[in-house]
Amino acid sequence: MEVTVRLFASLRRHRPDLALGQPLTCQLPERATLADLIQAVLGPLPDEVAIMLVNGQLQAGEQVLSEGDRVSLWPPVAGGAL
């Protein structure tokens, strides 16, 4: 199945090969989970992913993905003053 994933904020730096601001299209086996997708896209970096959205809804790593899902991955972000 095919899903699209967008990386935000500091997560972008792990995939400098991706065009800035563009989503990545991923081919995954049927019944793949959000955690599988993160492994495929970012490798073993689960600690840096704090917010996982599937089609705009907060989900956990066990969430099973479906064809056409839109995934957004965010790290925690703390900047603001300096």
Binding site: R6, F8, A9, S10, R12, R13, P16, L20, G21, D47, E48, A50, I51, L53, G56, Q57, L58, S72, W74, P75, P76, V77, A78, G79, G80, A81, L82
Partner: protein
């Protein structure tokens, strides 16, 4: 009626003729009107941080006529602030940020009161500083202060208007434990120390805090006026590159350590220990006792003709701004793959912008068995200040 509204009492508030002229565009909207403007005047808001987010926040809240604004910061205005911290100007370089900000706010609106707290916001002073205010706004730059601000708001029963930014993205929400989730419901644990870069390290598009800060200011004004739908229980995720705003519904975490029924946190804790990092961005990072070399020590060793290799772990676009003669660039992200190019028998000095990334590089090499390592304390910016003033600092 929202709980926040009950705290604010506009009964005894009067507006002068000058104030009525000033707030004319509010007063002619029935959703604000005279009653709403008096509520704004009766309200008090505490801003934690007078930097990127605090700039638009402070200025719009002052202009809107918030009666009392508190400013917490302990920094001074630096040239590198001016690209986005529009509350400060070139003339205020070197001044305390709270003084510079206070002068700007009183210039915008002399009818308000501005209180300043030139000190770090810590577990020791936070409750006392925050207690008199109706609304707390989080415009800080680090995880320990964000958890501290959250816990202060939960313990005192106040709304925490949250905003944070990094490079091209921002987040905003209103964490108000009496009516919805808190920051810990969304982020129960801080990220591992050093994993998530700060704006000082990663940069930030100058206009971005303007967008997020004005969203926070809007929420503060709505909460005070009691109009519209507040961002309680919703998280806004802003992507400036694609100009999209994604909204996510947040739920209260039934196991939240501070705002659930079974909360175990009853008082403020040690947030630096909790997050494993200091409660403010250090411009200059140390690699730990015995591993640092100062710019002057490095210059002396180079003059003596010592054979040492300087490895610059910054990115190519930073190398273009400034670099040390004779240094070699291996960006931190490539270091693991290119470690084999280094000779562990040779003295190696690691260097970045301010010493934080090179301290991490040192740790990586040390773990890999390298021993003849030093971290340039304060990075190339300190080198430029202390040894080679022909280089710019950034």
């Amino acid at each position: 009626m929202s709980l926040i509204l009950e705290r604010i009492d506009p009964q005894a508030i009067e507006l002068s003729h000058a104030e009525i002229s000033r707030y004319s565009r509010h007063l002619i909207m029935p959703e604000v009107g005279l009653a709403g403007q008096k509520r704004l005047k009766a309200a008090s808001v505490l801003l934690i941080g007078t930097g990127g987010l605090g700039s638009p926040l402070g200025m719009y809240l002052a202009a809107a006529g918030i009666g009392k604004i508190g400013l917490v910061d302990f920094d001074v205005v630096d040239a590198s602030n001016l690209q986005r911290q529009v509350i400060h100007g070139t003339a205020s370089l070197g001044q305390l940020k709270v003084d510079s900000a206070r002068a700007r706010l009183l210039d915008i609106n002399p009818d308000i009161e501005v209180a300043t707290y030139n000190e770090p916001f810590t577990s020791e002073n936070a409750l006392a500083i925050a207690r008199p205010y109706d609304i707390i706004i989080d415009g800080t730059d680090n995880f320990p202060t964000r958890y501290l601000t959250n816990d202060v708001c939960v313990l005192l029963g106040k709304p925490n208007i949250y905003g944070s930014i990094f490079r091209f993205e921002g987040q905003a929400s209103v964490f108000y434990a009496k009516e919805g989730p808190c920051y810990r419901c969304l982020f129960p644990e801080p990220p591992p120390p050093g994993l998530v870069p700060s704006c000082a390290e990663g940069g930030v598009l100058g206009v971005l805090p303007g967008t997020i800060g004005t969203i926070q200011a809007t929420e503060a004004i709505k909460l005070i006026l009691g109009i519209g739908q507040p961002l309680i229980g919703r998280l806004l995720l802003y992507d400036a590159l694609n100009l999209t705003l994604e909204e996510v519904k947040l739920r209260k975490n039934p196991r939240c350590l501070i705002c659930s029924e079974n909360a175990s946190i009853k008082e403020l804790v040690d947030y630096e220990a909790f997050c494993g990092v200091p409660g403010h961005d250090h411009e200059e990072e140390s690699a730990g006792a015995g591993w640092d070399i100062t710019p002057t020590e490095l210059a002396a060793r180079l003059v003596q003709g010592n054979h040492l290799k300087i490895i610059d772990v910054r990115e190519p676009h930073e190398w273009d701004i400034s670099h040390i003669e004779g240094a070699e660039m291996i960006p931190l992200g490539s270091l693991a793959a290119r470690m084999h190019e280094l000779d562990s028998a040779q003295d190696i000095v690691l260097q970045c912008k301010t010493g934080a990334r090179s301290a991490r590089a040192l740790e990586m090499l040390r773990t890999a068995g390298f021993r003849k390592l030093k971290n340039l304390k304060g990075g190339i910016n300190a080198w430029a200040r202390e040894v080679d003033p022909s280089l710019p600092t950034y």
